[in-house]
């Protein structure tokens, strides 16, 4: 396997001067796909997306066309764009919002037309101030151009789009929490069933919730056809995908590459991609799909960037973020920091997550500080088992949403892969990497 020469789809315009303006977008043929879609039957648009087998790029990886097809028949229906990107080490939607907001608007309009939504809410993570400004400006421009508003491009389809800022809460990336937030409430996930957004979503109406990168693929799929998209990649993992690469690599960044044709090793080592581990060091472990994903060791480097292959190997491609940790990394500290994140971001509704996350964080911190006990390793796994019984993958659910059952991923990975390192912390009474421990 190696890097293929497939041209980028969603990042094709990133880096061009003023790529976020309407003038730049139109110069590259922008909004022609929307015109084309409006000349098709809505069902034919959905069929193209089904043919493309575009998998959701937010984390769960569900088939986009299927998600649309499951929408309960009712009036109104809503489209909600999930731009609340907050999964640690994921930074692709942040880039797309700033660099190519019109591509997102065009994709959203195509989706809205296919599912019959007359109103779209573009929920953007509140911290993305520049992205919110550029998307707002782009919405203004799109109305002026006739790509949003009444009778778009002279068709009988009308659509309003509203940019909605979040206010800082990881949990709002979970689609039902996002809907609660959009209704002006605390971001508490809803119980599913019955609250699957396709059936009972925003204001109780059927709602499609799609990720920024997912929707940004639609203009290309409509202009080139679903077949052309499905021709890229292997099996169910079609098209291209942005991988957010970070940690101990020479060239961290967002890389859009063909799905399933490239391995983690290629992504990390190829000179046009990660360029290798910094300072010529070795990979100790890597996280293949966001902080919620179980870790892999160097023995998994030759695994393909394929949703099903990674799933079968016991983790997930998730949000497409790959974090590389070299042999200088303290795995106790890494697991502690990720666990502290989940503890802080727990919405507090469910006991296993609210309480379990806090105790796991405390136990990990004391090990890192040199005050751990040998029985802490069993304690960690026992609390993890209360959050995700059996510690299987994918985790079994004890809570309303998947945040809680995601907490064990990094802990069980670290304890199983680096048990000796935990024991060294405990027996030496100090962190062998950092000495002083953490605050």
């Amino acid at each position: 396997m190696a890097l293929t020469d497939a041209a980028p789809i969603v990042t094709a315009r990133v880096g061009k001067p003023e790529s976020w303006t309407l003038a730049s977008y139109l110069a590259d043929g922008g909004y022609e796909s929307l015109r084309k879609a409006l000349g098709m039957e809505p069902a034919a648009v959905t069929q193209e997306v089904l043919t493309s087998n575009l998998l959701g790029r937010g984390g769960a990886g569900f088939e986009t066309g299927k998600k649309w097809s499951m929408l309960r028949k009712a009036d109104p229906v809503y489209l909600v764009v999930n731009g609340d990107e907050s999964e640690p080490a994921t930074f692709k939607d942040h880039m797309l919002l700033e660099a190519d907001p019109h591509q997102l608007i065009e994709g959203a309009a195509i989706c809205a037309y296919a599912v019959g939504a007359r109103k779209a809410f573009l929920y953007v993570r509140g911290e993305f101030a520049l992205g919110i400004e550029r998307l707002t400006a782009a919405v203004n421009e799109a109305y002026g151009h006739g790509a949003l508003g009444r009778e778009i491009f002279g068709s009988r389809f009308s659509l309003d789009a509203v940019v909605h800022p979040g206010a800082g809460a990881y949990i709002c990336g979970e689609e039902t929490a996002l809907l609660e937030s959009l209704e002006g409430k605390r971001g508490f996930p809803r119980i599913k069933p019955p609250n699957f957004p396709a059936a009972i979503g925003l204001y109780g109406a059927p709602t499609v919730v799609n990720n920024v990168e997912t929707l940004s693929n639609l203009p290309w799929i409509i202009s080139h056809g679903g077949e052309a998209f499905a021709a890229l990649g292997i099996g169910r993992s079609t098209g291209t995908r942005i991988f957010s690469l970070s940690g101990h690599v020479r060239r961290p960044g967002n890389y859009e590459i063909e799905m399933a044709k490239t391995t983690f090793r290629d992504l990390i080592e190829n000179p046009r991609l990660g360029g290798g581990v910094r300072d010529g060091r070795a990979v100790k472990a890597f996280i293949p799909g966001g902080a919620s994903a179980p870790w892999f060791g160097p023995d998994h480097l030759d695994l393909a960037l394929d949703q099903d292959a990674v799933g079968n190997a016991g983790s997930m491609l998730g949000s497409g973020s790959v974090v590389v940790m070299d042999d200088t990394t303290c795995m106790v500290r890494a697991a502690w920091r990720i666990t502290r994140f989940f503890h802080r971001e727990s919405c507090g509704q469910c006991t296993p997550c609210r309480e379990g996350g806090g105790w796991l964080e405390k136990v990990l911190r004391r090990i890192e500080a040199g005050a751990g006990r040998e029985e802490d390793l069993d304690l960690l796994l026992d609390v993890c088992d209360n959050l995700a019984p059996g510690l299987s993958w994918p985790p079994r659910q004890t809570t309303i949403c998947v945040l809680g059952p995601s907490i064990p991923s990094s802990i069980t990975s670290a304890v199983r892969m680096f048990r000796d390192e935990f024991l060294r912390h405990i027996r030496e009474g100090r962190c062998p990497f950092h000495g002083g421990g953490v605050k």
Partner: protein
């Protein structure tokens, strides 16, 4: 301590008109209140409650859930240093320690002159340029101790006032269109919302008079 005034009130009414149900405008309105005052005063939250026909407790209950919304005063420059995994691996904790030393405050604190508040935050999605931070949610990547010190000087001397607006200012681009698909211009939508808001204010006043007491928020 202020209610939403002048153009902030106009923008609030325009915003309410964009949603099928007024409460959806709650978070956008809290951002507006924070832009006006730098943080969420009790008066502003009470005003937002009036505009949306909510109880003050519902407004405070929502506001207190979200990390970006401050119900206590905050410095003119909110410095948010990320220490999550990608930054941790690239010196994020050390950067935070440096920031604490340089500003003379611990994370969560505000300098005596009210110029800087320092906070440790979760991943802010700039991991390709770790370690990173944001000031009033304008982003700075690949930050070293040295570049942090320069940043603090530039902010103190007002050299970055264009790039970094005051705390609370989220979006400097104003929506110029109403719900065109529904046939509503910005002004028309605003007029309708204003009528509704005035009605709501009257009803709230009646309710308060009946209860014999005002409602305090955020205490």
């Amino acid at each position: 301590m202020a209610r939403l005034g002048g153009d902030y009130l106009t923008r609030a009414l325009e915003t309410i008109a964009l949603y099928p149900r007024p409460r959806s405008a709650l978070i956008p309105l809290l951002h507006l209140a924070q832009e006006q005052d730098g943080w969420l005063t009790a008066d502003a939250m009470a005003h937002v409650a009036e505009l949306l026909e909510l109880d003050a407790a519902e407004v405070y209950g929502t506001a207190s859930f979200y990390d970006m919304l401050f119900t206590e005063p905050v410095g003119r420059h909110l410095v948010s240093v990320c220490t999550n995994i990608a930054c941790l691996l690239n010196g994020g904790l050390e950067l935070l320690e440096h920031a604490e030393e340089r500003l003379g405050i611990r994370a969560g604190g505000t300098t005596a002159d009210g110029a800087f508040t320092l906070e440790e935050v979760e991943c802010i999605a700039l991991c390709g340029e770790a370690p990173c931070l944001a000031v009033n949610w304008r982003f700075f990547g690949s930050v070293s101790g040295e570049s942090f010190d320069r940043l603090v000087e530039d902010l103190s001397d007002g050299r970055l006032s264009e790039e970094v607006p005051s705390h609370g200012t989220l979006c400097r681009v104003r929506r110029t269109v109403g719900l065109a698909a529904e046939g509503a211009a910005v002004g028309a939508a605003e007029g309708a919302a204003k009528g509704a808001a005035e009605g709501a204010a009257e009803r709230a006043a009646e309710r308060d008079a009946g209860a014999g007491s005002g409602t305090e928020v955020g205490r």
